[in-house]
Symmetry: C2
Subunit: 452 residues, 2 copies
Amino acid sequence: MAQKPSIPKGTRDFGPQEMACRNYIFNTIRQVYALYGFQQIETPAMENIGTLMGKYGEEGDKLLFKILNSGDFLKDVSSEDLKKGAIGHLAALLCEKGLRYDLTVPFARYVVQHREELTFPFRRYQIQPVWRADRPQKGRYREFYQCDADVVGSDSLLNEVELMQIVDTVFQRFGIRVCIKINNRKILSGIAEIIGAADMIVDITIAIDKLDKIGLENVNAELLANGLSEAQVKKLQPIINLSGTNAEKIATMRQVLAGSETGQKGLDEVEYVLSKLSTLNSQLELDLTLARGLNYYTGCIFEVKALDVQIGSITGGGRYDNLTGIFGMPGLSGVGISFGADRIYDVLNQLELYPEEVTTATQLLFVNFGETEANYCLPIAEKARKAGIRTEIYPDSVKMKKQMQYANARNIPFVAIAGESEIADAKIMLKNMLLGEQKLVTPEELVAEILK
Amino acid sequence: MAQKPSIPKGTRDFGPQEMACRNYIFNTIRQVYALYGFQQIETPAMENIGTLMGKYGEEGDKLLFKILNSGDFLKDVSSEDLKKGAIGHLAALLCEKGLRYDLTVPFARYVVQHREELTFPFRRYQIQPVWRADRPQKGRYREFYQCDADVVGSDSLLNEVELMQIVDTVFQRFGIRVCIKINNRKILSGIAEIIGAADMIVDITIAIDKLDKIGLENVNAELLANGLSEAQVKKLQPIINLSGTNAEKIATMRQVLAGSETGQKGLDEVEYVLSKLSTLNSQLELDLTLARGLNYYTGCIFEVKALDVQIGSITGGGRYDNLTGIFGMPGLSGVGISFGADRIYDVLNQLELYPEEVTTATQLLFVNFGETEANYCLPIAEKARKAGIRTEIYPDSVKMKKQMQYANARNIPFVAIAGESEIADAKIMLKNMLLGEQKLVTPEELVAEILK
C-alpha cells in the first residue's frame, strides 16, 4: 500500500475551503426554497433497479451504476446466462439495485409510494448527489449534486411565477447577474402545427439557435438540408427573425400562430408569467430556441444564463404533465427547477463573489505555551465559544513560530497569547492578524473585540 | 408498473417532517463542531474497492456494497473465473468500486492523498451517509448517516478534553441529559499485564460488564469458564468490584496496577482529562468495562449514554495511533468522535425535545380566490418573504374549505385572506390558526404581527 491512494475517476474530494463555498451555495438555495414554502425530502442513494431502468432512454440505462447483489450473487444465474454474452440481461440478474441517476425519478417514485401521506399541492425540494457512469471530462463528473424543487398537483401558472421569483432571489443573493430565458412547449407545438412538421421541431429550434453564429442564409440552408420544403422554410422566416421586446415578440407570434389554438395557449401562458414578473432584478427573455428535454416538458420551459461569465445554463426547468404516470399515478401535473451547483460554484469563483465570512472558519486561536498557560486559556476559550466565536486552542506546546504558521495557513484572523506576565495580570495579548496589531485585553474585552 | 413502487429493504425515504428533525440534529452538531474549529470535508460515495477491502475484517468485506463495472464487465473475466464459484474472487473482477462503509477509512485515505495540502493538526468533520449490506432489522439500516469529527497530527490530551466539551455542548443544546463514560486502552492493557492474560482482555471486560445483571458469583464463574485461573480471577476482584467516585476508582486502580507502567500511564491520561472537565453539565464516569473497538483504539475510549431513555450508546469515540498507516503514512496519531444521528433522533422523539420552530415549515399562507385577488396578494407575499417569513400563495382558486384543510395539514400558523372588501380597504384579514382569532391589518402590520 505504499502507492498513494486515489479515488475513482470522475469523483471528487471536497476539502474545507471547497466545502465552505459549496455549503454557502446549498444553504442559500435551501433558504430561498424554504421561504417559498418548499419542504425538503431525501430518498435513498439506491433504488430498485426496476425504478430506474427505462426512464432515461437506452443511453441512460447504460449510464446507471448498478450494485452487485450481496452474498452469492450467482445463485440464480444459470451457466446459460453467463455464456450468452448479453451483458444487459446478465447485469439484471446480478444487480437488483442501482444508484439514483437524478432526483426526478426518485421523486416521482416517492410521490406515488407516499401519496396517502402527502398533502397536495406538494412542494418539495431535494439536494442530494446523483451518479452517472458518463465518460469523465472537464466539468462533467460521475458524482454530482442536484438541487431540485418541484410543485406537483397544481397546474396553476402561479407556480411558474414563484419558481422564477425563486431563481431571481437566489441569484440576487449570490450577486450573479442573470438572464432568465423562457419558452413554452405549446408555442413550439404551434409552430410545428402551422408548418406541418411536428417531428421536425427539435431540428428547427437547433437550426434557429445558430442564427447569431452562422447567419440567416446558413440557417435556412440547414433547414432545407434537414428536409423542410421551401414553403415551410418561408413560413419560418418571421420566427427565425423574431426580435424586439418580449411584448413585440409575442405580438409577432400571435399573428404567425393565428391558425394554432395550442400555439395561442402557449403565448397566453408566457404572457401571463411575464406580466407577473415585472419587478424582477433578472432579465427576462422569451427565447423560442429554448427546447430543453422537449419530450419531457409540456408547458413552460426555462433556463438561466449568467450574464458576466461564459458558461452553459446554470439553472433550468419547466412543466411536465406525466411525471408519476409511469409509476401508476397518471394526471398529476408538476413544474420544477434545478440549480446547477457545480456551475454556480465556478461562476462565483470566477467573479470572486464569495462573502468573506464564508471562507473564514476558525476566528480565534489560543497559542499553547505549556500546561499552566493552557489551563489559564481553557476557560477563556470556553467563554469565547459561548459567545459564538469559533475558537481553537493549539493542542501541543510546540514552537511559537509553528503555531503562528498554523494560524496563517488556516487564515485565522485573531490569535490570543497568554504567557507569565499576561496571566499575572489576568489578561490576554490579542493579536489581529490582518492589521498586525496587538493589544492587552481582559477576557471580556477579547470577546467584545472579536465580535465587533 | 401498476404495482406500488418501493425502495430497497434497509433504506428509508425521509419526508418533510423527518427531514426537519434530522436537519436540526445535523445543524446542531455541525455548529458545535465549527465552534471548536473543525472544518467540513466530503468524500465520494464510491471508493476504489482496494481502499475498502481488508479494512473492516472478513465480515466487513462481505458487507461492502460493490458496484458493477460499467460497459462490458465480463471483458477481463475468463470462463475459468466464472466457473470456479469463488464468489469473492469473481466480485473483485466484476467490481472495481464500492460504496463507503464508514467515514473513517475514506478520511484516512483523504489525509494521505492530500497530505501536502493539509495543515496539521488537521481537524475535520464529515457528515455523510454510509452503506452496509447488513441484515436489516429494527434500528439497523443499510444506509445511514455518520457524523464524525477527528483531529489528526496531535497527541495532546487537550484534544480529548475538547471532544468531551463538544459532546457536552451538543447534548446540552438538544436538552438530552447524558453520562459520558470514559476508559483508556492503556488501563485495560495494564490489567491484562498484571494478571498475565493479554489475549483475554475482551472476554474480561464483557464478563465484568454483566456484574449488575448476573451478580459477582456468576461473573467469576464466567471468567473461570473463559479459561482464567483461580489466581487470575482473584486478582481481578478489586477491578470487578470497583466503585465510588472517579477519584476513588482511580486511587484503587493506582494500587491494583502498581506493577504496570502502561496501566499507570492510562490512569494519568484519564485523570488529566477528567480534571479539565469539572465544569461540564454531563455526568462523567470512569468505566473500565468500556472496550469498544479495542483493537483499533490505543488511548482514551469513550461512549455516551442517554440518562432518560433506554437505548444503546448515542455517541462514541477514542484515540487511535495508526489510522493512516495502512495507506503508507505511519505515526499519525488521531482522536475522534461519532454522533449516532439515528439514535439521537429516537431520543429526541421519545423525550419530545424538538423545538417548535424546527417543525414549523411555512408560516403564512395566502388564500387564493381568483386572479384579481391573487394579483393583489402577490406583492404582499413578496414583502413578507423579504422580511424572512416563509410564505405560500395557494396556487389554485379552489374552494376555501380545501385551502384551509391544506393550511391545517401543513400546520401553517397564519392564513391571509383578501376578498373584495379587504382589497377595497388595502388590507388583509389575518387569521391566527392556533388561537382561532382573526384581524384586519395592513401589509406592514401583517409582517409585524407574524414576526412578533
